[in-house]
Symmetry: C2
Subunit: 276 residues, 2 copies
């Protein structure tokens, strides 16, 4: 593992690190914010999964999360959104290939050799994180934005007991019924839609739900609402009697201005679960 | 109008008043809490509509709302849930007749002569309230519990511009699809289901929504969830991109213990709109 940068921030340290990833078959970069408390003891961690076109860096510099993580004494980890590099397959579209891993393990050509973001985020990066940093594996929470909200919700529901809480900002809520999902699942997972269901938050909510609280914020002026399909997930949450809240925020769009506005609520929400 | 009682409470006055109602053709009783500020100037008002079997008194003594209304400087009005008295039709069931007005104007026998709770709550009682008490007609909000949540939501959406905010505790959210609704609408409004639609919060949300914020709390352990149908309203709210939040509260049931737990949030929510 290489340290690319470390900066003092809000009394803690914002680091950026790279490592050779077995899951993705390339070097991967991630950001990690450790609050001051981590100098003395392992701290709880909130995973932040980013959206389409993002690297590890976008949320790290634009989401305004470190302030609240420092206040609450929690770490933040910012993984990249896909494998990258010259030897890695890509597509001219912004929503497929590099920057658009969709948090799945690709089984189809040309994506299968590198696009294994599910394994990377749920197995390889956690092993590295918990062995190399003062972060408490027993106290994890997860959030994300857009494609990253999709990742946070599907991962949280797929690993019962791992995460105490999950939240999302404008998640892709029902990708098997959206052009943000059908295109990518067909490319990465193949035409058999039965294999897509494990990566759809609405379908997972109907099937099993989440054993902890959920908080979802969605901007009512989001330019991608028709692709995100919040109504499908809201219906599934309430039909399941899922502990949680779904909030439609008037006037907010899909940007990091929206994310940063409600970040305090989300970090506070996770801290309540992590320090319960 | 007769003053039945007035008690000092949280620096203000909790009163109970009765008057001869033209809409209902009988005497009607209501509770009104005025905060201390009302001694000096008209204050905003939050309407609280109660649920099945309740009189004006239940929420007044069990919801714990006066404390927060005093803190925020808002009045609370607690109407009864139906006409009452020996000359008023009734039914042996708890969910029809006296204590179960459902906030509609009955057109069918034997209910039509007295069961006009829609007119009572939206016309007659407001006229009395705004002429007799220091309450500001330009700043109204509305909430309610169960059948009263149904009333609050349907009334708020039916009078655009009248209420700045609406909230509900465990509302009957889709009565045209529930035994809490179909039975009563058939009795009060007749068999023509087209006439029921104006009294269904989910259908009104699909049709027109609400021009302000909405807050809904629902207990996940509510014993009446199958009758309340929160998932239908949550889906309709998010499909419409309605400004608002739908919260599923783990472990809470249908009682006033649930209502009183979240009353602070609701009064604070309304005060934000009323003092904006």
């Amino acid at each position: 593992m290489k340290t690319l940068s470390e900066n003092r921030a809000f009394g803690g340290v914002q680091g950026v690190y790279s490592h050779a990833s077995t899951a993705c078959g390339c070097d991967m970069t991630f950001g990690l914010f450790l609050p001051e408390e981590a100098e003395r003891e392992p701290v709880p961690v909130v995973w932040y999964l980013s959206g389409l076109t993002c690297t590890h860096e976008n949320a790290m510099v634009k989401a305004g999360a470190q302030k609240w993580a420092a206040t609450e004494g929690v770490a933040l980890v910012f993984p990249d959104t896909s494998p990258r590099g010259e030897g890695v397959a890509n597509d001219a579209a912004y929503d497929l290939g590099q920057g658009a891993g969709f948090y799945v393990n690709a089984t189809e050509k040309p994506w299968a050799p590198h696009f294994r973001m599910w394994d990377y985020v749920t197995e390889e990066l956690p092993r590295l994180l918990f062995s190399a940093f003062p972060v408490d594996e027993a106290r994890q929470a997860i959030t994300g934005h857009s494609m990253g909200g999709h990742g946070a919700l599907t991962i949280a529901m797929s690993f019962p007991g791992r995460f105490r809480s999950v939240s999302a900002f404008a998640p892709i809520a029902n990708p098997t019924a959206s052009d943000w999902g059908r295109k990518q699942f067909a490319a990465y997972l193949g035409k058999d839609e039965a294999k897509w269901a494990a990566h759809d938050a609405t379908l997972l909510m109907k099937k099993r739900g989440f054993d902890g609280p959920i908080l979802i914020d969605q901007g009512a002026s989001d330019q991608f609402l028709d692709l995100l399909k919040p109504e499908a997930l809201a219906e599934a949450m309430m039909a399941r009697r899922q502990n949680g809240a779904f909030r439609m925020q008037k006037g907010y769009d899909h940007s990091y201005f929206f994310v940063s506005t409600f970040m305090e609520d989300h970090i506070g929400f996770h801290a309540s679960a992590l320090y319960a």
